[in-house]
């Protein structure tokens, strides 16, 4: 498992560095070359139902250089607390995760009541979407191990887990968020084309 984590981390770094080299390789304007840029990455609010995993995730966020506010909240309280936290932090990316499981005894795979915490995740996503309805203004990742993927996506999350009801890795949400956070808002070639047109 440690090896998998390292692999994923390495792949991410590789991707990010390649991208930054590619961008540097094409200065869009002669004047621009002399001015150095600063880069701003989005604010992340991470709400977790497990304080140990939260700690681990925050370490990785820091390693990847993301701005993060982590909060330990019990799954059942998430729908209530998500609005207060969002007003306080004003995040660009919201991560809702914790523990979840599907039990066959309780019902069919389609029935959300057969899942331990999926209903709270869905409710929390709905609350967050009430606050910020646009899918572009706020990116939401929700879900945990064996969560009901379909209803979380339908509630308005951009990313969710888990389509085949397997146990996801605790750090997977962090990689997804990092990828979103480091994808540039604009493609560089648009600027290149504009400066050529001038």
């Amino acid at each position: 498992m440690k090896q998998d984590e390292d692999l994923s981390y390495r792949m991410f770094r590789q991707d990010y560095y390649l991208r930054s080299f590619r961008d540097y390789a094409q200065p869009t304007h002669e004047k621009e070359q002399s001015i150095s840029q600063f880069r701003i990455c989005p604010k992340v609010l991470h709400i977790d139902g497990d304080s140990l995993f939260l700690k681990k995730c925050i370490q990785l966020y820091k390693r990847l250089g993301l701005q993060v506010h982590g909060m330990y909240v019990e799954e059942a309280e998430m729908p209530v607390k998500v609005k207060i936290l969002m007003e306080k932090v004003q995040p660009d990316i919201l991560v809702i995760t914790g523990h979840d499981s599907y039990s066959k005894q309780k019902g069919d795979e389609k029935d959300i009541r057969a899942y331990r915490n999926s209903k709270y995740f869905v409710e929390a996503v709905r609350e967050a979407r009430k606050f910020q309805p646009s899918l572009d203004q706020l990116v939401i990742f929700a879900g945990a191990c064996q969560s009901h993927f379909e209803s979380i996506i339908r509630a308005g999350a951009n990313f969710a887990s888990s389509p085949t009801r397997i146990n996801i890795h605790a750090l997977d949400p962090v990689y997804v968020v990092a990828k979103v956070g480091y994808t540039p808002l604009w493609k560089k070639w648009i600027f290149t084309m504009l400066s050529v047109a001038q």
Partner: protein, 49 residues
């Protein structure tokens, strides 16, 4: 506008498409000018370092 390549996202996680799924999303990373010391820093080094 650059979208986040979902295939790319999924292939970079540990449990892959079996564990994570999503919809097309806009990238959120912004570049600004000029660079000064107190400005928000990411883990990337500035150009002249």
């Amino acid at each position: 506008m650059e979208k986040v390549d979902i295939y790319d996202v999924v292939s970079r996680t540990i449990t892959r498409e079996k564990g994570i799924g999503g919809i097309e999303t806009k990238g959120l990373f912004r570049v600004g000018l000029p660079y000064m010391k107190e400005l928000p820093i990411t883990n990337e080094k500035s150009k002249d370092e």
